[in-house]
């Protein structure tokens, strides 16, 4: 396949960036999107040029490191798929693909397609924890949890924190991410002691980090590679209201 890439190149957060065009004459349709970038980078290094910086780690769709805004969509055209799991067979011979970094003021660009997502870490640090007694580990089934609650909590915990929700949201809002982190603990008995404090703290830090506001467009749910549901945003809104009224 012949693929033309228009890739955002930016030396660092302080210098302005621009698009560079690269033509790859012989891309295999079995390559993943990132493998195509590996091939391109290999070529750039051989020519003595600066390779394109992009985030990646596990390359099996579970770590949340890869990003890339591909042809106007976070993680590319497929639903429920991270960039590393996107294969070139989903593109056509002769396509021009525009690749940009996540764009949000809370995710400053480090270099090229790499952005700093540590704002997410600070949101989790603000409330994503539970109280546990020290000493021996508690027996796994000592606290009964309804299957349905456990399933919902697990669905929320499937969030890999990749930031596609922020990237795709027209307001660069982090509500889907934060609500997944709030829900995962709010649904379980172990999360109850800090439930009210947690939601208030995490929302407070979310706002401090400069994420936008949720206007319920629902784009995040569609683009989320892990299919995190808007149910969690509603639950967080509910918890936030209640915790502000009660406390």
């Amino acid at each position: 396949m012949k693929i033309t890439l228009k890739v955002w190149r930016q030396q660092n957060g302080k210098t302005p960036g621009n698009f560079n065009t690269y033509t790859l004459p012989d891309v295999s349709e079995d390559m993943s999107f990132l493998e195509m970038f590996d091939v391109l980078n290999d070529e750039l290094i051989r020519k003595g040029e600066d390779p394109i910086a992009f985030d990646h780690d596990c390359r099996e769709g579970i770590c949340g490191m890869c990003s890339m805004y591909i042809n106007g969509r976070a993680h590319g055209p497929l639903t429920g798929t991270t960039t590393c799991q996107l294969h070139m067979r989903h593109f056509n011979d002769g396509d021009t693909i525009v690749v940009e970094p996540w764009r949000a003021s809370a995710f400053p660009i480090i270099k090229d397609l790499m952005v700093d997502r540590s704002a997410f870490d600070r949101v989790i640090q603000a409330g994503g924890f539970i109280s546990v007694n020290t000493g021996n580990a508690v027996d796994a089934n000592s606290i009964p949890i309804p299957k349905e609650d456990a399933d919902k909590a697990f669905d929320a915990a499937a969030c890999i924190g990749c930031g596609a929700c922020v990237a795709t949201c027209k307001n660069a809002s982090a509500m889907l991410f934060v609500s997944a982190k709030v829900s995962q603990l709010a649904l379980l008995p172990q999360g109850q002691p800090e439930r009210h404090l947690r939601v208030k703290k995490m929302v407070e830090v979310m706002d401090e980090e400069g994420f936008g506001n949720c206007t319920n467009t629902g784009a995040c749910e569609v683009e989320c590679p892990k299919g995190i549901s808007l149910d969690h945003i509603a639950r967080m809104n509910r918890d936030y209201l209640v915790s502000n009224i009660v406390d």
Binding site: Y69, N71, R73, E100, S105, S173, G218, M236
Partner: protein
Amino acid sequence: MALSGLFLCTFLVVHLLGNLQLFQNDGGVAFNLYSAFMANNPLIKTIAYVNYAFILLHIIDGFYLAAQNRKARPQGYAKVDQSKSSSWSSRNMALLGTIILVFLIVHMKSFWFEMKFGNMPVTTIEGQSYKDMYSVVVEAFSQPWYAALYVVSMFAIGFHLYHGFASGFQSLGIRHHRYTPAIQNLGTFLFAILIPALFAAMPVYFCLKNL
């Protein structure tokens, strides 16, 4: 946004039900009695002030949030394709709201301002004189450009509520797999289609009648 928006949705229902009396073929007697009642009843007056407050709150909050959201992404994407992930209405609430605001200014100037401070024609019903709101409305609606403005504005309201009504519930945390589809249907069929269509029918009716 959710609370003020949903309050304004209930206002729309009341406003529509009252104004449907324009269609009553009695030379405006029912409508003029109704508009006099709306202008003078102390309870209605109190609710009207609450309504103005919510309208202002909704406008100010809307502009404030839109500005904040713009700040959250100072540099936009060169290529954006959100057609598959969200509805057009949901992405253009600020634009639709601004169209509605312009409409609201024209609308308030034509009727609310005239009723309160203008020089209204007077009509006599059962020996008592009333401000003849009916003839003011009919005269305004008879002008094609004015009717056209109303129809366009009702489209804006329809699209605004297509997203806005259900979105308000989501913002308040009211979401349930059994009830949310019903809320969405109510938003679509009642608030996005029926109510704007009936409002738009008023200027269209009087405009066509005058042709």
